[in-house]
């Protein structure tokens, strides 16, 4: 067993998710990502059970591990009790720890998620916050959201929220002490370190690619990873 394989075994989701695969294809049959992308969850399990570090390194740097939508349909059906969906979470975790995620177009997107959802968890105590769901970045949210977003306080008030106020309620202002506790939890459990790694490795990659990356959400690198869809992800290359 190589180092990468051993590192994976430190993740309890990996232990839970890898039993032994007989390549029956039940998981791939039902996987939405397999329908649309050049992806088969079966291949993930098949590669992992070889314990081959070289293959695992390729996987960690590949587009492949980022196609999964974590719907867990594979887990419901596998006759051997494998969980490709959980193995994907373990692979994605390790890929970010080691900085390999920046080697793939889809992997590089993690920075954008960290700077949005990731930061909002710490800043607001929610994964999403209406003011930050900009209609121009989410045209699919439609004219209804455009109107809501422009009138968020009034809409929230109408619908009975306690928008950014003290006390219980929808989108309440979560007390600073609670946010401080969350921050400490992140520090304690390696969550902060994970965020820092995502930033650091992305910064290196941005330099390499010659794309400007600064703290703002509108810088070139963030725009780039948010929108670029260059490689043909739906056919084998």
């Amino acid at each position: 067993m190589g180092q990468l394989y051993d590192k994976l075994t430190e993740d309890v989701r990996f232990i839970e998710g890898l039993k032994a695969c007989l390549n029956c294809g039940t998981c791939t049959a039902i996987c939405p990502a397999a329908e649309f992308y050049n992806y088969q969850p079966r291949m993930i399990v098949d590669i992992l059970q070889t314990h081959d570090d070289e293959k695992i390194e390729v996987l960690l740097k590949s587009e492949t591990i980022w196609y999964c939508g974590e719907c867990m349909s594979c887990i419901t059906r596998c006759p051997r009790g494998n969980a490709p969906g959980l193995l994907i979470t373990a692979l994605r975790s390790l890929s970010q720890e080691l900085g390999y995620f920046v080697e793939s177009e889809k992997g590089r997107q993690q920075l954008a998620i960290k700077r949005t959802v990731g930061e909002w968890i710490l800043k607001y105590g929610y994964c999403l916050f209406p003011a930050n769901i900009l209609p121009e970045l989410h045209p699919e949210q439609g004219p209804i959201w455009q109107w809501e977003h422009a009138n968020i306080e009034a809409v929230m008030e109408r619908l009975g929220a306690n928008y950014q106020q003290n006390g219980p309620g929808i989108l309440r202002k979560i007390p600073q002490e609670a946010l401080d506790e969350i921050r400490k939890i992140f520090d304690e459990t390696g969550g902060t370190s994970r965020y820092e790694k995502i930033e650091e490795f992305s910064r290196k990659k941005a330099n390499e690619l010659g794309i400007n990356l600064d703290e703002s959400l509108s810088c070139d690198y963030i725009r780039h990873i948010y929108t670029v869809n260059d490689k043909d992800h739906t056919r084998s290359s």
Binding site: V12, I15, E16, P32, E35, F36, Y37, Y67, C68, G69, E70, C71, M72, S73, T76, T89, S93, E105, K106, Q109, Q110, A112, I113, V117, G118, I121, Y126, C127, L128, P130, E140, Q141, G142, P143, I144, Q146, W147, N151, A154, V155, E157, R158, L159, N166, P168, G169, I170, R172, I174, P175, E181, K184, I185, E188, T189, G190, G191, R194, Y226, N229
Partner: protein, 356 residues
Amino acid sequence: MKIEGKRRIWKEYQKEIAGDHYFYVRSCVRQNFFPGSEKTFLRILKEVLDKDIYENPSHTTCSGIGYHSDIVRFETSMTMVARQFALMTEAGYKNLATSCITSFGLYTEILETWHHFPEVEECVRKHLKNATGREFEVPDNLSHASDIIYKFRNEIASKGKLRLINHITGKPLRAVEHIGCHYSRMFPIKGIGGAEYPYVLTGMIEEWGGEVIDYPERRHCCGFGFRQYLIQANRGYSIACSKKKFDSMRPYKPDFILTNCPGCPMFLDRWQYAISEMEGITYGENGFGIPVLTYEELAGMILGYNPWDLGLQVHQVPVEPLLDKIGIPYDQSSKFLGKDGKFIGKPASPAFLKFF
């Protein structure tokens, strides 16, 4: 189709749902996009069912969206969830009610992980203590808000003013039920009806007079996919999943779609809009879309609540055609008004999808 075959399975997958004294934890997506639903849930539990349901303002996200986009480590998520448990324990509650399905799935996954790997639970207890000084007990009962509405669907029906019947034709309304992936896929026994033929929403629809239709892509994910939606470059996956479902359900002519996950109604609602813009296709009758509802919105409709209190006005696919079918009165002129009738502008209409 032999419905008795499904009934057999529904009987086998029953689970314990707490009857009262709930510690409520909110959903990020619902607070942002369906605040009316959470408001209605608490209203129903308190005013109609006379239950004790408590919310600690200090509770936060479970980090589910961050966890499933893989930016938040499992250890971090587990400890954030442990903090929620600690708040519950501190408030003297033992029954946890989650508003979000991803939360429900995450809490269930965490409890199962701790069950199989007790050393992981020990580790999390240490982390929580070190970070916050808090200690916790695991909940006696973990239910999703839809489980609770399911449990009390008879009471809601009896207190209800309306049934899911087309009041012009007299026929039961045809409903598509859509269950969130994280409800029962990982642990089928934790879902009412299991993973293949879930019953939590079917039970509500049947009790309230409607008819549930089965269609080939019933079990297909709506396509949230977490990172597959959050990043624009990946949204093809998300919209394609929903489109698969719409194309499959269209021949069955559903009157509405009922969901129990926060994300699903948002996607099934918005992707109909996006598809109409991209391809000029609409899935409902006469250029409308198929209205997508949360179970609280549906319960609220049955109970005769003002549709604009329920939050139906913030759907991109208008719900009015459904309200008309049921015979629910509504005041169109007040649809987009703010509190106390304040004028706060109106949304523009989409190019293709009919809108009011």
